[in-house]
Symmetry: C2
């Protein structure tokens, strides 16, 4: 258990180092750690919002079901990821969260969250995590809306690789990714049939291999290029002034609205 917590602390710290005095409240909260088996539901659509989660280990996802049974996965929650604390502003969950692998999660009540948010660094970490997840959601919309299956898959792999790297779950350009092709399909709004074909195309092109829940990136540069992946939206550079991605935006794309008054 102590092990889980120290791992969790490390994973939260990729945002900002946690000072010693803030560990205590977290460790206290983390004593309510809960284990879920693969496929368990952490919280269900329609349920009252009486708790939120911090993923300590394993992968979970948010998803919504359509009346016809199709499923849209709208987010992956990796170790160190946190539900938005303001979810408590809602009466009921409008989507479900389930475990894609065995998951260890810290369950937080509204009161517990209040405690944690009194800690300045912890509070910043929670906030940072929440806005980054929103940023990821925007990127996913872009992904599904504007990229081909090949690009989408590449982009997803780039993202997951980066995020797992940030929490120290990558070794030798490879990581465990407990996803089936159907789950990837539900994420990217593709058919599992098409995911399969695209996966093989990726393999053939020597960019990535995803087999037996094992992701290996063979050529990250090339993969990023075909995916149009720019990691800026993950906001992972810690405080250090990394070059702003000016090249991307200022290069005179045709439809930029003319700005005269603003700023």
């Amino acid at each position: 258990m102590t092990d889980s917590i120290s791992r969790l602390v490390r994973r939260l710290e990729h945002c900002e180092k946690l000072p010693p005095e803030e560990r205590n409240p977290l460790e206290l909260a983390a004593s309510s750690i809960v284990r879920f088996r693969q496929r368990d539901t952490l919280i269900k659509q329609g349920a009252p919002v009486d708790r939120i989660f911090i993923i300590a280990d394993g992968i979970a996802c948010r998803y919504t079901l359509l009346p016809d049974g199709r499923r849209q996965i709208s987010a992956f929650m990796l170790p160190g990821d946190i539900c938005d604390t303001r979810t408590f502003a809602l009466a009921r969950m409008d989507h479900s969260i389930c475990a894609l692998s065995p998951v260890e999660a810290v369950q937080l009540s509204a009161a517990a969250v209040r405690k944690l948010e009194e800690q300045p660094v912890l509070s910043r970490t929670l906030a940072w995590n929440a806005v980054v997840q929103q940023s990821i959601a925007r990127e996913w919309l872009l992904n599904v809306g504007h990229r081909t299956a090949f690009e989408r898959l590449s982009h997803l792999f780039c993202e997951l690789f980066e995020r797992l790297l940030a929490v120290d779950l990558v070794r030798d350009n490879a990581c465990e990714l407990p996803l089936t092709q159907v789950e990837i399909a539900d994420t990217l709004a593709l058919t599992s049939v098409h995911v399969n074909r695209t996966l093989m195309e990726l393999r053939r092109s020597k960019l990535v291999t995803f087999q037996n829940r094992h992701l290996v990136i063979h050529d990250q540069g090339a993969l990023r290029r075909v995916a149009g992946f720019d990691p800026a939206y993950l906001h992972l550079e810690s405080t250090a002034g990394v070059e702003p991605a000016v090249s991307y935006f200022s290069a005179g794309a045709p439809r930029v609205p003319s700005n005269v008054l603003g700023q």
Copy 2:
């Protein structure tokens, strides 16, 4: 100016009634109201996050550009909508916001936000607005990923109609919607050509008419049905009836007894 503010107050109140003592801080903040012309950029991708906005009047949108010039609109900001206060946790904007119509917006610095968040009701309103926007983002992903052009357009119209209704901008099943077909296309990840054809199909089917930036819903029931629109994700039901187990806000943040719902 006073007029703008009182309108704004009304629009924020569709979440929760603002007590008199909380109006003052808002009105103070709102003195920094800024006017943007159609197409002006409120804040640009890559810019330091030094301010956020409350839309008082008009419609703005968040968008991202792809290197090839295509654009994805990831959110509409209608009157009463607020940028997530925690955006300040990020160093730089990862997307832009621009005005789709003439816009009046309240500009808030981090300090101003802190002031406003000391007000319990105002703080809840800001939080509620932020999480609802996340919920909308999830629904949009579903929309783009799983629905046909006909359904997507229908769904978008249902949503915008509901949201405008909530801020009292609907009259006789109709509302102003200052969007071009290109902008709708950039929102739904379709071609403007296809948006055009679908719009005409909607007209022919007597469900909705969208012409000259004027939206008329002729048969809301049928429209919702074909769109698969369930307004739950907008969390607009004025909280009647639903009691959360514990309120995040009731005890913690600045004193004051109250819960999210009751009042």
